[in-house]
């Protein structure tokens, strides 16, 4: 058992050491994503492209917590929603409630700050317990916030929420324009993807993963387990909150429906379907989700979308717990093993 562990660990180190931050795959994907608006219609650029990137970034924050930290939080949509409500409150909206009219360079950082602080608070509460308890607590917190936002008219404008929340016009570019908004989402997604990917090998990322694998041992050698987890919630909060601001700009509005239980669970579905092991997983899941959401209605009754997405989720959990990424890697290993089979047989013989 231990021998096996050291072996896989060695392979992992070799694998991460071999990969440079910018390998061929990333370069090609990057170029394809940059050129995408040139070939895609505005609908595909905006409704599929930008939406995938935003949803994927929210799910990326869950991937950071669950994949590196072993903490499955259902309240990532709540954090995004809090930042979204804050941008509606701090900047301008057409609902006639709040709308403080702050300039974007104050409103956006403040919204992200409030969102990430909320995430830290959720973390402070949730990290006192571990494992499946955390799912319960984060779900309870998120649902409570949903009911609160729906009932409170003074601050959150209740059931109606805020409408007419648009991105500002900066550098003479109207960021509401599909192509401009796509590039904005792409930039945000790329930055966070890079940070999360790089963070895997940072000191903090490594200690977080070690805590995921064996919290008792980490505590014994002097690491503050709870503090590491709370800081992870803070970082995840920044990611989710930034994506939350983009999500409000994407929809032009935020209502309590944006953060309801279905939306909270959708983030988990996206992250799990894509795969929680690597930062690219959430984006794969988000792409599948966006495609299903937009085109499943052509195949089945649009009312039954949840059955389809829930069914896909169940299938993935049953057959490939590592998500689409796991499927892909299993295919890769099968083909790899086929080509290596004679060699491996030889090595076993010697």
């Amino acid at each position: 058992m231990t021998v096996l562990d050291t072996k896989t660990l060695g392979q992992n180190i070799a694998a991460t050491g071999r990969r440079l931050p910018l390998d061929a795959g990333h370069l090609l994907t990057g170029i394809a994503l940059l050129l995408y608006p040139a070939v895609a219609s505005p609908f595909f650029t905006f409704q599929i492209g930008a939406y995938t990137l935003i949803l994927g970034t929210i799910a990326l924050s869950l991937m950071l917590l669950a994949g590196y930290g072993g903490m499955v939080s259902l309240s990532q949509m709540t954090v995004a929603g809090i930042a979204g409500y804050m941008i509606a409150i701090f900047s301008t909206n057409t609902s006639g409630v709040m709308g403080l009219g702050w300039p974007w360079w104050v409103a956006v950082p403040m919204a992200i700050l409030v969102g990430s602080l909320a995430s830290t608070l959720i973390g402070l509460l949730a990290v006192r317990t571990a494992g499946i308890y955390m799912i319960m607590i984060t779900l309870a917190i998120g649902t409570a916030f949903f009911y609160f936002a729906r009932q409170n008219y003074a601050l959150f404008n209740g059931f109606n929420g805020f409408h007419g929340v648009n991105p500002p016009t900066v550098f003479g570019i109207n960021w509401r324009n599909p192509v401009a908004f796509y590039y904005l989402s792409l930039a945000v997604a790329a930055v966070f993807y890079g940070i999360v990917r790089y963070g895997q090998r940072s000191t903090f990322g490594l200690s977080l993963q070690a805590i995921r694998d064996n919290p008792r041992r980490m505590r014994a050698i002097g690491f503050d387990v709870a503090a590491h987890r709370v800081v992870a919630f803070f970082f995840a909060g920044i990611i989710a909150a930034t994506a939350g601001v983009l999500l409000v700009w994407f929809n032009g509005q935020i209502t309590s429906g944006t953060i309801d239980v279905n939306a909270m669970i959708d983030v988990l579905v996206v992250a799990v379907v894509g795969g929680l092991r690597k930062p690219v997983g959430p984006y794969l899941g988000a792409l599948l989700f966006a495609l299903l959401q937009n085109f499943a209605i052509d195949l089945i009754d649009p009312e039954r979308f949840n059955t389809v997405i829930g069914g896909v989720f169940l299938l993935i959990i049953f057959f490939s717990p590592d998500g689409l990424l796991g499927l892909w890697e299993r295919m890769k290993t099968t083909t790899l093993n086929k080509s290596l089979r004679p060699a491996s047989r030889r090595s076993r013989g010697s």
């Binding site: 317990t129 499946i132 308890y133 917190i141 949840n306 829930g310 717990p321």
Partner: protein, 337 residues
């Protein structure tokens, strides 16, 4: 008794004073300054009664949830769906046969059967993988909610309360005295009191089952050490299936009973799932007395919030949860993990 008095003299005096205060609040006519401070006595007493009866309903739902969790370490996030499923099936059965009691039985049995099927076909396949089991329940609740919406539509259903428990009865609580000297007695719906009585009866029955029977002994042993119970020759799968049937059945039972007191509509599954979650987080996971305490706290907080601070009612529930988590992360009656 006298030794307890010697050990905690201050605490006991405080408890006696508090109890006397509560009795006085319910029985005495309120002086004007108190009415000016927190409103009429009628609203207050009604709120407390509503809170306690709602707590009874929450206890029915949450006790099944906590039982399943305690034994199987599985957070069944489809518990709300079982509530709604039982309610719909119970409604159809009651509608078809014209008997409310058959509806109650049908609700219990339908959810219990669904629970056993879940246990046998889903959870047994991924034993020991708690996280995966929990994720599966999320998927089931998504699909379940959507399919129920397809079959039963988005309409709101309302059971008709059978005549023998319908109507209001007089309580011995005097809310006001008329100018001619006759006193106004508070009336309260009989049905809600029946719900409370049913919850108390089921709570006692569960306690007896767990503490006084052989199968209860096995369940308690399973909560403490699953592997050891299995090693001593008990068919653990059988125990799991029984516990799941009881837990799910209670959710279905609560669905019919709660659907009669309030109503059945899509979205109720989430509401009762949230209630169960908060109740067992506050009360302690896996503990039946904990579920009773948690249900009482949450039921009262919700109704008091609704009556006195309408738009901030949810916050009261939330604050209770935060305070409990801050001081006792394992819940009031929970044991440290």
């Amino acid at each position: 008794m006298s030794s307890a008095l010697k050990k905690h003299p201050v605490a006991i005096v405080v408890y006696v004073v508090l109890a006397a205060l509560v009795v006085w609040l319910f029985l005495a006519l309120w002086p004007h300054w108190l009415v000016a401070l927190i409103g009429s006595k009628k609203i207050f007493v009604n709120t407390i009664f509503n809170g306690v009866t709602l707590a009874g309903l929450y206890f029915l739902v949450a006790s099944g949830f906590t039982l399943v969790f305690g034994l199987m370490r599985n957070v069944n996030l489809a518990h709300g769906s079982l509530y709604l499923f039982g309610a719909y099936i119970g409604y159809d059965a009651a509608d078809l046969t014209g008997s409310w009691l058959i509806g109650v039985a049908a609700g219990f049995l339908a959810s219990a059967l669904a629970g056993v099927l879940l246990q046998v076909f889903v959870f047994r396949r991924m034993e020991g993988d708690d996280l995966r089991q929990t994720l599966v329940t999320i998927g089931i609740s998504i699909v379940g909610a959507d399919l129920m919406l397809a079959v039963f539509s988005g309409n709101t259903y309302q059971f008709s309360i059978p005549p023998w428990i319908d109507g209001a009865i007089a309580t011995p609580i005097v809310t006001a005295v008329k100018s001619d000297g006759s006193s106004v007695v508070m009336m309260y719906p009989l049905y809600r009191l029946v719900v409370l009585a049913a919850a108390v009866a089921i709570g006692i029955a569960l306690w007896l089952l767990l503490n006084r029977t052989r199968i209860g002994m096995m369940i308690r042993a399973g909560v403490d050490d699953r592997a050891m119970l299995s090693a001593s020759g008990v068919n653990v799968h059988m125990i799991f299936a029984i516990v799941f049937a009881i837990g799910a059945g209670l959710a279905g039972f609560a669905g019919v009973v709660g659907g009669t007191a309030l109503s059945i509509a899509p979205g109720e599954d989430v509401r009762y799932l949230l209630a169960s979650l908060v109740v067992v987080i506050v009360g302690g996971m896996g503990s039946i007395p904990g579920a009773a305490i948690g249900a009482l706290l949450i039921g009262l907080a919700e109704q008091i919030g609704l009556a006195y601070f309408p738009t901030y009612g949810v916050v009261a529930t939330f604050v209770i949860m935060v305070v409990v988590l801050a001081f006792r992360p394992q819940g009031i009656m929970g044991r440290p993990a």
